[in-house]
């Protein structure tokens, strides 16, 4: 409108897309090249971050985008892990088939766990997913002892079509490929009409119904889709750990992923990633801290630093409470604020 920008201009939108495109390529190259640069230890940490993202992103879609609160994610990971174990160890198929079967069974379980969501919401829904969690863990325990014995299901080194993928680097790339596929699916869904319907059902389901959105079908399909993705991630997680044991799938594990999406930012893929980095790296940082400054192993007079696990829990709790109170939009909100600030400093007063 004003004469402020008289210079010949490529539109701000075009510049924005170009910047985004370049950033995406750079990020992709960085991710793919990471294990070539990192030590095996840090490659493993990077693998855990990417896997945590692949698990948190569908949960974030379910909770952040669709408004369905769930503590059932550890249960879906267990469903995936045990399905994978059965397909690989008992039926003698390889990872791709295990992923497909885990996806189908995860979707079915998600559909069933989602049924109460047609009637319940908020804390009540959370309670019903909690019940589902204990039910699944109980079933996993029985399944484990009947099929694999007390030690759990021990996964063989990952091989697909005769190619050995069990090295830390290969595992990283396999999980990275899966995480990228998860991100792509969620991104495409959320930017489609179906994604708009999901958001509408979250915001006002009656208004959505008045717009012709089949509310029940939409809710259940989100449960099925996200649970399928989490179950598939469960197979990869079991491969990474090397085993599926029911003791692993605790409520604490479920809460970790809830923490990731709260700290990262609800309803955002970037948020899921930032949260995954943060929550995975906090224990690593704690370990380093205690190794460097804490007393020796077994010592009793080192204060909190001699109890890294307790310290970790306290720090987790403080971080989550801090984010809920101070930054409810999560890390992604912090990054956006920084971006806006940088834009203001470098670009003057750009107007949209």
């Amino acid at each position: 409108m004003s004469a402020a920008s008289a210079t010949p201009r490529v539109s701000a939108v075009q510049v924005g897309w170009a910047v985004r495109g370049v950033a995406l390529v750079v990020v992709a190259v960085l991710f793919i090249e990471a294990p070539n640069v990192l030590s095996p230890y840090w490659t493993l940490i990077a693998t855990q971050v990417v896997l945590a993202f692949a698990i948190a992103a569908p949960l974030n879609m379910l909770t952040g985008n669709a408004g369905q609160f769930s503590l059932g994610n550890a249960a879906f990971l267990a469903i995936g892990a045990y399905t994978g174990a059965y397909v690989v160890l008992k039926l003698d198929y390889q990872l791709p088939i295990a992923l497909v079967v885990a996806g189908v069974i995860g979707a079915t379980a998600g559909f069933v766990v989602g049924l109460p969501a047609l009637r319940l919401r908020g804390a009540y829904l959370l309670m019903s997913t909690l019940a589902a969690h204990y039910l699944v863990v109980f079933a996993a325990q029985r399944f484990q002892s009947a099929q694999f014995g007390a030690a759990g299901a021990i996964f063989p080194p990952l091989q697909v079509g005769g190619v050995d993928l069990s090295s830390p680097r290969s595992m990283y790339w396999v999980i990275l490929a899966f995480a990228a596929a998860v991100a792509l699916v969620i991104y495409n869904v959320m930017w489609s009409g179906y994604g708009r319907a999901i958001e509408a059902v979250k915001e006002r389901d009656l208004a959505a119904a008045a717009c012709g959105i089949p509310v029940a079908r939409t809710k259940l399909s989100v449960w099925a889709l996200t649970s399928a993705l989490i179950a598939m991630a469960g197979v990869l997680q079991a491969y990474l750990i090397g085993a599926a044991t029911f003791e692993y799938y605790t409520l604490d594990l479920a809460i970790v992923y809830v923490a990731i999406i709260i700290v990262g930012g609800l309803g955002s893929l970037t948020g899921s990633f930032l949260g995954a980095c943060f929550i995975t790296l906090v224990p690593v940082a704690m370990n380093h801290l205690t190794e460097k400054y804490g007393p020796g192993v077994g010592s009793t007079d080192g204060g909190l630093l001699s109890h890294p696990l307790e310290l970790e829990t306290i720090v987790y709790g403080a971080i989550i409470i801090g984010f809920i109170i101070l930054r409810p939009e999560g890390l992604v909100g912090v990054v956006r604020s920084v971006g806006r600030l940088a834009g203001r400093i470098t670009g003057g007063g750009r107007r949209g």
Partner: protein, 253 residues
């Protein structure tokens, strides 16, 4: 007149909480007709809107007896999205817009549910209400009450309806804005042969825009007639609506 577009026969609807909202109510609407339903609070107006748009289940209400026929088909137990896909579109009480979505996304929402041949284009909405076009990227919750209602009307029209059920369109709006909205709606509906069912507590206002109306009281249809008959007939209508003389209340607007 031929077969009515919509025929509600002896409908009985009760809510899960026990409220018996409709008692053997019956109405009919022909294609392209403008019909009103008027009545006091709690008369069952909104319930009849929900019944026609197949939304009763969403509100935990049950159709106990009676039927709703649309275009010759029994739609009593249809899900809401099927009704919309077949041309029954609602402008719900309280506007039913999604505050945290942009104006454009609110409009696109209705397109998701529709088959391609029933989808209108957004340019129609922008040309009908330019203010919506100017604010297409604004969150719908930031619009004024009148603009929100425009959005609700535009969204309904986007679904190329054969029957629009407008529930308490005037709620919380200045009379001038309501008149403009109704005039625009009537014009578009007349142009496309769309039937309009106007459900209003504001009886006087409603009767200015409809060809005929039903008066609802305690879930029953207690009176029916053309707008003129209801306004000047001096029958029990006014008593049911708590207004002394409908003919003399024009100035209320």
């Amino acid at each position: 007149m031929g077969e009515p577009l919509l025929e509600v026969k002896g409908i009985d609807v009760a809510y899960a909480g026990g409220a018996h909202a409709l008692r053997e109510a019956g109405i009919d609407i022909s294609a392209g007709e403008r019909v009103g339903i008027i009545g006091a609070n709690g008369a069952g107006k909104t319930t009849i809107a929900r019944t026609i748009t197949c939304m009763t289940r969403s509100y935990r209400a049950v159709v106990r007896s009676g039927s709703v026929h649309y275009d010759g088909r029994d739609i009593t137990r249809w899900p809401a999205h099927r009704a919309l896909r077949n041309g029954i579109v609602t402008i719900p009480e309280g506007r039913g817009i999604i505050a945290n979505m942009t104006v454009e996304d609110n409009l696109r929402l209705v397109l998701v549910a529709l088959p391609r041949n029933r989808r209108g284009s957004l340019t129609e909405a922008w040309s009908m209400y330019p203010v919506l076009g100017e604010r297409r990227r604004s969150m719908a919750g930031l619009l004024s009450g009148g603009e929100q209602q425009m959005l609700a009307v535009a969204r309904a029209l986007l679904a190329r309806p054969r029957l629009i059920v407008a529930d308490e369109l005037s709620l919380g709006l200045a009379p001038k804005i309501v008149k403009d909205l109704l005039a625009g709606l009537s014009l578009r509906a007349a142009g496309e042969g769309t039937a309009v069912l106007l459900i209003e507590q504001a009886a006087v206002l409603s009767l200015q825009f409809v060809d005929r109306a039903y008066v609802l009281d305690h879930g029953r249809v207690v009176s029916t007639g053309t707008s003129d008959e209801l306004r000047h007939g001096g029958d029990m209508t006014a008593r049911y609506l708590g207004i002394e003389d409908l003919a003399g209340t024009e100035e209320l607007l």
